[in-house]
């Protein structure tokens, strides 16, 4: 007989995995800005996220404790001298997803740090958004992120977006041992102290990646944002098995050698939905009658709404994330602690891989907050993020099938994703080979004055960014044998990406079984909220 402790552990681990049986309820899946309710084949394994971990009891106290007891560094107050030059860098709007309820955790950290800086006689303080080649945040988004008081005091002269294309705003340090360019925001590089305020949603974020990618330029990003490095990264989410992270570590160590960097990393739980949308956090078995009613009412209402309105509605519902850990200090030991807490929240152990894996595709990705999830972003979600949400071993078998549910509409936001449009409609018809695209077109797009202008003066992603989106999906594309988009409303978009399409999920499952065999195993990943499968072979 198993002792109670073991049974409890087994129960905890296995309760996140449900096997579909004859009497099991139908499962809801994200279908872009809509929901599908699907009867899945008996035997399908449905993987749910862990329940949200409990928040730190007192956020302000946790932040103060972290900066007063940092990892392998002196406390923040001891690093400050009157008259010194300090830059505070912040993660941009790509984190967290969906954007969290105000006050944002960055605001909470800033309120404490800025007060400490002021009390220590440090007046030369700039707040820089570490957006790298991401779009500039709008004034309203910037205000929401730090709160009105800080915004009014610092914006626009001392609170701004990083500009990777400002020829006078970037400095180069010495290269890494591998010859990688180490370029950095001038203000940050010339500061006596750089404080980086991070939000860690998944283990891919944070650590050396914060400063090394967030405050740099195209030349430095090329070192690791390329198809070969991506192919050499067994898992984006496991830094020690990722060539991408090794490269950012080398770059980060050069930065740490030249500049004093104090990291403040925060970890959030996965409470993406609450209130009227809390049913999205539940297993269907646990639905009450009221939950079922809310689901059907939401599904009905969404069907009546135009797509733009649905997007507006979804983006107006902020996530109810809680902070579950705050760590501070030197880059590597701080991030180690962050990662441990991250895994506690996101890791879901599962036994073995599956032949077919189904992802319900949500309306949001890191690159379309307040905008459209265009086809290239659906691709990066499917082959980049969702495929990679694992700990070393992908959930889908080599040569297996991924099924996603999304309308895959041919819609792009010309304001946010200007270079994506040309990439998708001019380059993809020519080739899908990431290396050819990199060699032939990446630099041309990156240096295109129109795209540079839209990045610097508008709110568009940089000309190189659509390439990164395509490279990001490289491992997923190389690994799977077939990708099927169920519910794709046109033929040409899936065809351009080399995907198959069906009208319904059951047709997609039939097609996948035709490819993998009638006894193919099927898993469904219910994400969001975010989870990472820890596959045991």
């Amino acid at each position: 007989m198993r002792p109670l402790k073991t049974l409890k552990k087994l129960y905890d681990e296995e309760s996140h995995v449900v096997i579909q049986e004859k009497g099991s309820p139908p499962r809801f899946l994200f279908y872009g800005e809509d929901f599908w309710l699907e009867d899945l084949p008996v035997g399908t394994r449905i993987i749910y996220p862990r329940p949200p971990l409990e928040a730190v009891p007192n956020l302000k106290a946790s932040i103060r404790y972290a900066i007063n007891h940092p990892e392998q560094m002196e406390p923040l107050h001891a690093l400050l001298r009157p008259g010194m030059k300090v830059t505070v860098a912040l993660d941009d709007i790509s984190l967290p997803l969906p954007p969290m309820r105000t006050p944002d955790v960055r605001q909470a950290v800033l309120e404490i740090v800025l007060e400490l800086l002021a009390d220590s006689g440090v007046d030369d303080v700039h707040l820089v958004i570490a957006n790298a080649l991401h779009r500039r945040m709008t004034d309203a988004e910037m205000k929401r992120m730090v709160g009105e008081k800080i915004f009014d005091a610092f914006f626009p002269d001392r609170y701004y977006n990083h500009d990777a294309e400002d020829p006078d705003g970037i400095v180069e340090m010495e290269r890494t041992s591998h010859g990688e360019v180490v370029a950095m925001n001038r203000r940050a590089a010339e500061s006596d102290l750089l404080i980086y305020v991070n939000i860690n949603l998944v283990p891919m974020d944070g650590g050396h990646k914060s400063v090394g990618t967030g405050l740099t330029n195209y030349d430095s990003l090329r070192a690791h944002h390329n198809p070969q490095t991506i192919r050499d990264s067994a898992s984006y989410m496991e830094p020690e098995r990722s060539a991408l992270h090794k490269s950012t570590e080398r770059i980060g160590r050069v930065i740490d050698k030249n500049l004093k960097v104090f990291h403040i990393e925060t970890v959030l739980n996965n409470r993406a939905f609450d209130g009227q949308m809390e049913w999205l956090m539940k297993k269907e078995e646990d639905f009450t009658e009221f939950d079922r009613m809310k689901f059907h009412a939401t599904q009905f209402a969404l069907k009546q709404m135009p797509r733009a309105l649905k997007r507006k509605m979804f983006f107006s519902i902020p996530a109810a994330y809680d902070v579950i850990g705050v760590y501070a200090g030197a880059t590597e030991p701080t991030h180690q602690k962050t990662l441990e807490t991250c895994w506690k929240q996101y890791s879901v152990p599962v036994e073995g891989q599956s032949d077919i894996v189904i992802f319900g595709m949500p309306y949001v990705s890191p690159y379309n907050v307040n905008s459209i999830l265009n086809p290239l972003l659906v691709q990066v979600m499917a082959c980049g993020y969702l495929y990679n949400l694992n700990r070393g071993v992908p959930l889908v078998k080599k040569g297996g099938v991924i099924i996603i549910t999304h309308p895959l509409y041919d819609e792009f936001d010309p304001e946010h994703h200007a270079p994506y449009i040309e990439f998708f409609h001019r380059l993809l018809p020519e080739t899908r080979d990431a290396k050819v695209l990199e060699h032939k077109y990446e630099r041309e797009f990156a240096k295109n004055p129109s795209y540079v202008h839209l990045y610097r003066k508008g709110n568009s992603y940089h000309g190189a960014h659509p390439f990164y989106m395509w490279y990001w999906g490289e491992n997923g594309r190389q690994h799977v044998g077939k990708l099927i988009c169920a519910g794709a409303e046109n033929n040409h978009v899936p065809a351009l990406m080399g995907w198959d399409r069906t009208d319904t999920l059951s047709e997609a499952i039939d097609m996948a079984r035709g490819f993998m065999g009638r006894n193919a195993s099927i898993s469904v990943v219910k994400c969001p909220p975010i989870l990472q499968t820890d596959v045991r072979l």
């Binding site: 294309e165 010309p414 040309e422 409609h425 004055p449 129109s450 202008h453 610097r456 508008g458």
Partner: protein, 236 residues
């Protein structure tokens, strides 16, 4: 060839073709147009009678100009440039400097210089191509750092403007021909070059290069840019 280099540079001779950025001017880089410039010359004509005649004539012609512009840009240009008949060449040249200081300089869109600087950083030769008169546009081209200016040239006989433009008039489809000739002459790759305009009347100029961009576009050009996936910029 309607080419007036503002900075004399020898043509690049190398195995690898260069790239250029061709900018329309009126409505793209500045908020004024050819009629504003002419209006300025008219108001500064020299004599009270002359000022009155030309100014009233210009005002009276506005509905006709607008109608012609809608119907056919080429007819509009030919008709419009007749208004210059009788101006003396040195008077026009002198006034063009004042016109730039008084009117054009303040009409440059706030982000125009940024775009030109970015095009230069990308390794492009900067060329302005405009339906305006060369004497009007030269100070602006110099100020914004253009390498070359391609503009209409007025015919002068005995130091007086005839009101005729030395053909071909730089407008519409002709802009594409001129750009093609320019690229051939300067060893520039058309497919790597950029073109910027605000008007659908410059459709030919935009399609002749590999990298067209709509700038502050009118409704027709905005629709075209959306259809052909061209980037859309706002320099205002």
């Amino acid at each position: 060839m309607h080419s007036h280099p503002t900075h004399h540079r020898p043509p690049e001779v190398s195995a690898r073709p260069g790239r250029a950025a061709f900018f329309d001017v009126d409505g793209t880089l500045i908020s004024t147009n050819v009629v504003h410039a002419f209006g300025y010359y008219a108001q500064n004509e020299g004599s009270v009678a002359g000022i009155l005649k030309r100014s009233l004539g210009t005002v009276a012609s506005i509905p006709l100009f607008a109608a012609l512009n809608l119907v056919d840009r080429k007819v509009f240009n030919e008709f419009f440039y007749r208004s210059y008949a009788g101006f003396s060449e040195d008077r026009l040249l002198t006034m063009s400097e004042d016109l730039f200081e008084d009117l054009l300089k303040g009409a440059i869109y706030p982000r125009a210089q940024d775009l030109i600087t970015e095009a230069r950083r990308a390794g492009c030769r900067i060329v302005f191509i405009t339906g305006g008169m060369d004497f009007t546009m030269a100070p602006l081209a110099k100020y914004l750092g253009a390498d070359d200016l391609i503009a209409n040239q007025m015919q002068f006989v005995g130091g007086k403007a005839t009101g005729k433009v030395i053909p071909p008039i730089i407008e519409g489809a002709n802009k594409a021909n001129v750009i093609r000739d320019y690229c051939e002459k300067h060893h520039i790759a058309l497919n790597l070059s950029h073109a910027y305009s605000d008007s659908a009347s410059d459709y030919a100029m935009l399609t002749v290069v590999g990298r067209p961009t709509a700038v502050n576009p009118d409704l027709r050009l905005r629709a075209l840019a959306r259809s052909y996936n061209w980037p859309i910029l706002d320099l205002r």
